[in-house]
Symmetry: C2
Subunit: 223 residues, 2 copies
């Protein structure tokens, strides 16, 4: 499948020109970030929680404590979704009306399932950690049995998805082109900043490769 | 009210040490960003959409087209919520299990209402634009009647809220302290980047004050 099917659930109604259903483009948005927003319903109110994720082929994994309200709620649903948003710029038009943002945002729908088997859990956790910061898994101590038992891992098998991408300058009305108002884009960058070593870390340990190599780019995980 | 009441809806169950119900702290998280994630339900599936917002006292405003599925859905609910997330760093512990993120995340609950009156709509749009980039409203052409009529504005009167803030180094198990594994924080920074003037913008127009002054800081909106 190269494209997700357009259904009422995932079809982009507002700004359809900016929509894409292309699997490669959508997975590129997923693989270039590690924080998603997962919505769920609690006593009739929709709530959304940010959480880390990792992808392998058509499954995305999230994790939390065994009592995590959001995750337990997902497991009671036959269909769930999550959204990954990259904010790339502020679009300033001559008119207030045409102000916008440049962004890449993917909304993914799928079937949730409990990852129960220890080996599968371990693999999912590795995907999540190495999607956050590639190479970190093998630098750190692996989860022991007690830690694994305390961790709830949920997989979401992707069935439907769409993305919206805006990546251009301001689009003003023809009637406004002659106004003396500046138009353009103020790009927004998300970058690694200072490295702050723990005060209790051994003095002789140097900044690891995972930290030195970290970038907000497509981590190119499997599949 | 200096603190939001802890109720089943907003009480932070996981990691309660990091929770705050302090109104000043929660509003500071809101006023330091302009992009929130709003969850809603479509045919039984919870979905979340990123959108811009502005705040005045205890009301947050969002806007969209008259046919915006998310916004129309909100107006059918008696209670809605949204979340604002600042990602501040990756927390790398000696053990995989204690890996985490530094963040400031506020989840706000409230009662949605349609902003119908033109003057109120105009004020709400000004709040949204100037929360995105302070000072921009008065640089650009104000919405005309046609544009105002095409814009749906929803207010959310805040009734409940909580936030979680993590802002510290890695917390490892005592048994792991002697491992030869680096621990610390890789900070993540979100900053204004390049300014890209529109190709069709008048050559003599210089970068406006709003763009030159933009920072990801508390914009200190009203109340």
């Amino acid at each position: 499948m190269a494209e997700f099917e357009k259904k009422p659930l995932n079809k982009v109604m507002r700004g359809p020109k900016r929509a894409t259903y292309d699997k490669t483009k959508i997975y590129e948005i997923l693989d270039s970030h590690f924080l998603c927003h997962v919505p769920y319903t609690f006593e009739g109110t929709a709530i959304v929680i940010p959480t880390a994720y990792g992808r392998k082929r058509d499954v995305v994994y999230i994790h939390g404590s065994m009592k995590n309200r959001m995750m337990l709620s997902l497991l009671n649903q036959s269909q769930v979704s999550f959204t990954v948003t990259h904010l790339d710029g502020l679009v300033l038009a001559r008119s207030v009306f045409h102000h916008s943002m440049n962004y890449r945002s993917a909304t993914v729908f799928g079937k949730p399932f409990l990852v129960a088997n220890d080996a599968d859990k371990m693999e999912a956790l590795e995907l999540i950690v190495d999607n956050m910061i590639p190479g970190r898994w093998k630098e750190a101590r692996e989860p022991n049995q007690k830690e694994l038992d305390a961790t709830l891992v949920v997989g979401i098998e992707i069935t439907d998805a769409s993305a919206k991408i805006r990546d251009e300058g301001a689009n003003d009305e023809l009637a406004d082109m002659d106004l003396d108002v500046w138009a353009g884009v103020l790009e927004i960058e998300t970058n690694p900043g200072k490295v702050v070593k723990n005060a209790d870390a051994k003095p002789e340990l140097e900044t690891p490769e995972s930290v030195k190599g970290f970038r907000f780019v497509n981590h190119g995980v499997q599949g």
